[in-house]
């Protein structure tokens, strides 16, 4: 069932990404999409009656599968990295166009000719 929740969250994230025009909220929605994926992966490692995957010699309890957990650790970091960079880019764009509205930034960009386009400070 956790998997279904993960897919629902994925969908909510995409809706946020498409319908909200604020760039910061778009990034939050992207973060939600990534989190949903991670939730799905963790839900795979879980199985009924399992324990956390910490084992001592001679221990025979059923453990949750550690491999998805290990994958997810990497994925979380990668998502953070992408998010931080995207946020920086949003900051630079907003400093130039004074709006976080993606549609308006697109319009501004169309209006600007190539000569006008100067590197951002």
């Amino acid at each position: 069932m956790a998997a279904v929740i993960a897919f629902i969250l994925f969908g909510i994230g995409i809706l946020g990404l498409v319908l909200r025009r604020d760039l910061v909220i778009k990034l939050l929605a992207l973060g939600l999409v990534n989190s949903a994926t991670i939730l799905f992966l963790v839900s795979i490692g879980d199985r009924p009656g399992a324990r956390a995957p910490i084992q001592l010699p001679g221990d025979v309890a059923i453990l949750a599968d550690p491999l998805p957990h290990a994958l997810v650790l990497s994925a979380i970091v990668v998502n953070f990295a992408i998010l931080a960079l995207a946020l920086v880019f949003v900051m630079i764009l907003v400093e130039r166009y004074h709006t976080t509205d993606s549609t308006r930034i697109e319009q501004e960009m169309v209006r600007e000719t190539d000569e006008e386009e100067k590197p951002c400070s």
């Binding site: 995409i14 999409v33 799905f40 795979i44 491999l67 994925a75 992408i82 764009l93 166009y97 697109e106």
Partner: protein
């Protein structure tokens, strides 16, 4: 050992160039020489019939990360090396910061690792590494449009990678491993089950975003057209192909031949249509990249050995001529003061003649003049295709390519006296040499009987007719613009289109059963 050393050494050099930034030029030369040494050892091993293969760090089978130096991987690794040499020499005198070389080294290292790694999750990380690096490279000059393109690129590819990761999850839940060579048997066992379809559709849709497949890679035209020339060359020649290489890897395991062919056709035809309608040369090149990816996908999807070899050669050939085109057009645009075709034509006398010769070679390569790179690769590819409609579509794409590049003719044939700067000449010569000598060099990759078959009269005649028809058609419809929807390239629609693309892929996989 060489397999893991190639990426690791690049990573070490990447950090060394920024730590000892004064010594970055000798370090760069050293790293290229070392790479050449390691690559040639690997190629020798492969030619002897014992490709190197091992699991990283001696981890148990099924858990660790397997590396293999097979033909597909090595071809891509060599292409990465060739492009790395070209871009390094092109930017040699540009006074770029160590930061640029760090990113360049990381990108090449990631390409090496991706060519050898046969593990889904490692591929995910490598694709993400390449995304971040190229994200930073596209925005290097900090122009607002570059930054916007970068942001768009990043949002879409992050979304794509999330879809890919969902696919990885589904695969792992059912197989318990991510090793592609082990998956092959496991997936075949449960062929036809619904999870196989779901996993393949998710993996394909996710990768297609990175691979420059038209309905998915909506970020591509703006990113490639906005970046600086050296970066565009790498993006088109290398970064996109990382996705394509991974798509091919997956196509061996999962039943995705039909979607590959359909996506290839869509990409090829639509890419050509948009390229025809573009009068900004950099944008034209970006769209043409999409159409060229179409050939490669069709080749991989056809699933015959000859077609696979053709697709591999086309991968290399496209890397060579598209990189050369981006580099020369970049320099030409700088000299002429704009990359729009009218500006280039008007100021064509200001374009150095060396640049123009190199550009001519690249254009002839891409439109398939025998016996240059494009012709040879395309001929091998066509030999591998059995269905007639596919043949016709490939021909149509070739005609379209000729038509879109016919616009460049006035730029190519003009007089000028300026000279190209020396570091650029080296880079142009290196790539142009590859294009001109592609046929003899490709004997390393393609067995002689297949390769000789490409040089038949029928293929040569076909190529010449395509060129004639293409230029004739261009003359007749010259400058007539037709409206194509640009709405799809907007950030508000592209994620939805990616989902629609997923549905398409899913339907095709279900059909292909």
């Amino acid at each position: 050992m060489q397999l893991i050393l190639l990426p690791l050494l690049r990573f070490v050099f990447a950090i060394l160039t920024i730590t000892f930034s004064k010594a970055r030029k000798p370090l760069t030369i050293l790293s290229h020489l070392l790479d050449a040494l390691l690559l040639s050892q690997l190629v020798l091993l492969l030619l002897r019939g014992t490709p190197q293969a091992f699991t990283v760090g001696g981890a148990p089978v099924g858990l660790g990360i397997p590396l293999i130096g097979d033909q597909n991987g090595l071809t891509f690794a060599v292409l990465a090396w060739v492009l790395s040499v070209a871009v390094t020499s092109y930017t040699w005198q540009d006074g770029l910061r160590p930061y640029f070389f760090l990113l360049l080294n990381l990108l090449i290292g990631a390409s090496y690792a991706l060519s050898f790694a046969k593990d889904l999750f490692t591929a995910f990380l490598l694709l993400d590494l390449s995304t971040i690096v190229s994200f930073l490279l596209v925005g290097y000059q900090r122009r607002p449009r570059q930054i916007w393109a970068s942001l768009h690129y990043m949002i879409l590819s992050s979304l794509g990678m999330s879809i890919f990761l969902l696919g990885i999850g589904v695969v792992y839940a059912h197989c318990g491993t991510l090793d592609l060579s082990l998956l092959e048997a496991l997936v075949r066992e449960s062929a036809g089950e619904s999870w196989v379809h779901l996993a393949s559709a998710l993996l394909v849709a996710g990768l297609a975003v990175k691979a420059g497949v038209f309905i998915f890679s909506l970020w591509l035209p703006s990113a490639h057209a906005r970046a600086m020339p050296a970066v565009s060359a790498l993006l088109s020649g290398l970064v996109i192909k990382m996705g394509v290489v991974e798509l091919f890897r997956i196509s061996v395991v999962f039943p995705i031949d039909l979607p590959l062919i359909v996506l290839g056709v869509i990409t090829g035809v639509l890419g050509v249509a948009y390229a025809l309608n573009s009068y900004d040369i950099k944008r034209l090149l970006a769209f043409s990249t999409l159409s060229q990816i179409g050939y490669i996908l069709i080749g991989f999807g056809a699933h015959t050995d000859v077609a696979r070899l053709g697709a591999l050669s086309y991968e290399v050939a496209h890397g060579l001529f598209k990189a050369l085109l981006f580099l020369t057009v970049g320099e030409a645009a700088k000299c002429a003061g704009g990359s729009h075709i009218s500006v280039l034509t008007a100021n064509s006398h200001q374009i150095p003649w060396g640049t123009r010769i190199a550009m001519t070679v690249a254009v002839l390569g891409i439109i398939g003049l025998p016996p240059l790179a494009g012709f040879d690769a395309k001929a091998i590819l066509e030999d591998g295709l059995s269905s007639v409609p596919l043949h016709l579509i490939v021909l149509l794409m070739s005609v379209g390519t000729v038509m879109s590049f016919a616009k460049l003719a006035p730029v190519l044939f003009a007089r000028s006296t300026c000279r190209t700067c020396r570091s650029h000449v080296l880079s142009y010569g290196w790539l142009a040499g590859g294009i001109l000598l592609f046929w003899p060099l490709s004997l390393l990759l393609v067995p002689p009987n297949v390769n000789l078959h490409a040089m038949t009269f029928a293929h040569i005649a076909e190529a010449l007719i395509v060129m004639a028809v293409g230029s004739g058609l261009y003359m007749s419809i010259r400058r007539r613009r037709f409206a194509l929807p640009m709405e799809v390239f907007r950030m508000e629609t592209s994620p939805l289109i990616i989902l629609l693309g997923f549905f398409l892929v899913y339907a095709l996989i279900a059909l292909g059963r």
